[in-house]
Symmetry: D2
Subunit: 268 residues, 4 copies
């Protein structure tokens, strides 16, 4: 493990190139905004480490996630929305293997439907939704969790897309944030899981049509999540045939396993 | 939901046809032994329901798991070992969708490496292993769990394959059984998860070369697990766009979202 | 275990006797309303059992919870508010021991601060609160959970006291219901835990000044919870000194344990 | 939070003063051995902090745990065995309050029956046991957990007291270590919980008659646990009455809550 945490911010990067209103919010892409925010957000966590930041986007070769880059990556952030199907299964497989080895993964907003998130969860990851420029208020349920470090009891986003329950996910190992929506719904917005040796964090806010990733509290959550998700180990998959650690008692299978079964009266 | 629980015992059914020693233990296949055992094992659970039992095997058309059969199935048992790769992805997808809708799934022994189990877990599901005719002792960790109903504090299998930790699975929602092995290892042997609306139980014992599925305690565990895994609901996947339940406050976005951002001083 | 589930509805029963406005809502006490509701609410759960219903109140001898009554009780409901301190520690100890043996406990609303709930949780069980006649909307997060059987996706209570996060509880084993409040807060409203061999359910609604326990959905939740919390086993506490199950290898401690330590070079 | 982690090693300190064989293993008490080990064990965790170490024992005034000392304590270790009943309830209450505020607590071996552990768990914390000089092998179930940093896949203690399941605890949030015993039992040996804002770790080994706390792997586990359990926040208990964050809709309760009930047809 290097001294710095090596981070890749991955972005689909289509909305920003196709829609001027969205380009106005994220002129160089959400990935650039997020990388800049991570560069500038000092984590209040004791022992917080510096970051080595890079970005990657869908339309780069191998989506910018070559085996070599992923191999050196400690924490991967993932934003995707309308082109989930264009992400190659080979790259998804590669990312999954790295998570199971210990790499951290932070899935943002509409990334709930990404191939990688659904594959790690094993579920559909569906939810209710609505685009109505409505207020979201995020409540901190576990103020002692590293991802909540430095946050107030709650914070607001004046305009966001609504996501509502039931969110089809396995019960989170830790539930850090819950969202209240003006229109009457609520949502498990900050959810932690371990998969293999890696940590996965899902963070709800971040609809492309709003300046959510410019929000200081949102940036704080993501900066904390990077520290939390940094690998603790790196262990490749193994399924070893191993010798006994204790002497086994001598067995009398001379009459064969069928004999054993006959002896028990289970078969004739 | 019908009155009876509709059960399919799925078996790869290759070892029994290729290896006379294994055929001697399971002359008509493990699936037949398991179905007969389920037919005869009265569940000690209050409110236990009768079973409607069927079997299916790899070499039947669609592996015996047509859409119509799966549609009517409440609980599916799965034993596979050397032909996991031959199970078609379309059938795996179909089984997964049924589990997420509410169908129960009981994965047996070497089924830890089946496509369906790995897909629902999101992990490699690797482990340590050894074939050495050694003793396994299963300890009941949660005697109040329905799957443990009627079991003694521990029970033994005189000869089994060893599986050892670390078992690469998400932390079980409930850990019912732990195995002690003569050779010095231990294992999380009875593990429960919920995925979508369905329940998943992994049960370790059942190497094909031993008469494990003739054991009364093993049969009891599986009979209980069928009761536990029976569907509570059946809900198809949805991701609906929904109207607000509360009146939203009037918004002033006339200056556009970029204007909002400018107002906040986030962009020039 | 008897055929019927033996239920005691425990109520502090002070507000109803002291405050005419509350007496108008619950003329014979909340316990009577709840017992009547349980008598009349058919559970949609498969295998649901009939109930044998009784009540108990604070001012009865031993709070109506003699050792004999508790001994025969399967599921205890608990509503208390302003007289938690008057509940005797001996009775609390008795209830705790029965829960750990397998009895179910359903803690209602202001019972979050009861001695028995705090003792089983090990935490303060504090929360935010407000009495402002505001709307509560309860969302079903786990529609497959037995406690959610027959419920719609969400249901509303037009007037309730608000409880807000952070609710100081151990992370629930299962989170069934979440509440949205008109005033901007949210709350983990239907929470399940296992303690010892018993099941504990906390259910938020039920401020004495509103007719909450006359609501059909609230009654449905409580009726389902009784079925869910019914004992699966009854096991008294034991801490046995046990003989080995396997032959231990001969030990050479003739030089004493200090010798062992010296040999390892750990002490001189 | 100070730069260093402030640690108190608490020990009953009776066996060492009463039994020469035990005094030979721990001449100045287990607390002294543990404190020295913590002083010398460099943690392999990234961001590991230095320790400020102190000790406390049962027979000191207030058991060495005055309000002022506890107030300044970040992580408390607890070893007790035969004098649990002599620990004053006032001190237990004080420790619990500090844990709920964020202080870490590491409970060792026979501390499973301490007042503080039972109070935080809400259960009996019983188990099976045997003193027979037998081998214990501890398996790392979660190698990516901070408490497992630097450990091999398994490690052995040549002579230990046996503890066996069922261990009467709430399901751990994280299960890091499992023990295999020569005599045929197994045990959940390294268990993590959160209670309030504090972290609790139970670690099984440490019978007074063996030199367990001189073992390098045992010392490593405890050193890691201190880092893991260090407070992330300090938040005193509150149960505030709070004003609404959103404007509440005007209510028409002029006819009173009984009127509301009558309107609904629930009462006459």
């Amino acid at each position: 493990m290097s001294e710095k945490i090596s981070v890749i911010v991955w972005n689909e990067y289509r909305h920003e190139q196709e829609n001027p209103a969205i380009a106005a919010i994220y002129p160089t892409g959400m990935h650039a905004t997020l990388a800049a925010a991570l560069r500038e957000t000092a984590s209040p966590l004791p022992g917080a480490r510096a970051l080595d930041l890079g970005t990657a986007t869908l339309d780069e070769p191998e989506h910018g996630l070559s085996a070599a880059r992923l191999d050196a990556c400690d924490v991967l952030l993932w934003w995707g929305h309308k082109a989930h199907a264009e992400v190659s299964d080979a790259v998804v497989e590669r990312v999954q293997r790295r998570v199971l080895e210990g790499m951290g993964l932070i899935v943002l907003h509409s990334g709930h439907f990404s191939k990688i998130f659904r594959r790690l969860m094993g579920t559909h990851c569906s939810l209710k939704w609505r685009e109505a420029d409505e207020k979201e208020r995020l409540w901190v349920v576990e103020p002692s969790h590293p991802i909540a470090a430095g946050l107030p009891e709650h914070f607001e986003l004046p305009y966001e897309e609504m996501y509502g329950e039931r969110f089809d996910i396995p019960t989170p190992d830790e539930l850090v944030l819950l969202s209240w929506f003006e229109g009457g719904e609520l949502f498990r917005s900050g959810c932690c899981w371990q998969r293999g040796h890696g940590r996965v964090f899902y963070f709800r806010p971040g609809h492309e049509a709003y300046p959510t990733y410019h929000d200081a509290n949102v940036q704080r959550v993501i900066a904390n999540a990077v520290q939390w998700a940094a690998p603790r180990v790196r262990l490749a998959d193994r399924c070893p045939n191993t010798a006994p650690l204790e002497a086994l008692s001598p067995k009398s299978l001379s009459f064969g396993r069928v004999g054993m079964l006959q002896e028990q009266g289970d078969i004739a």
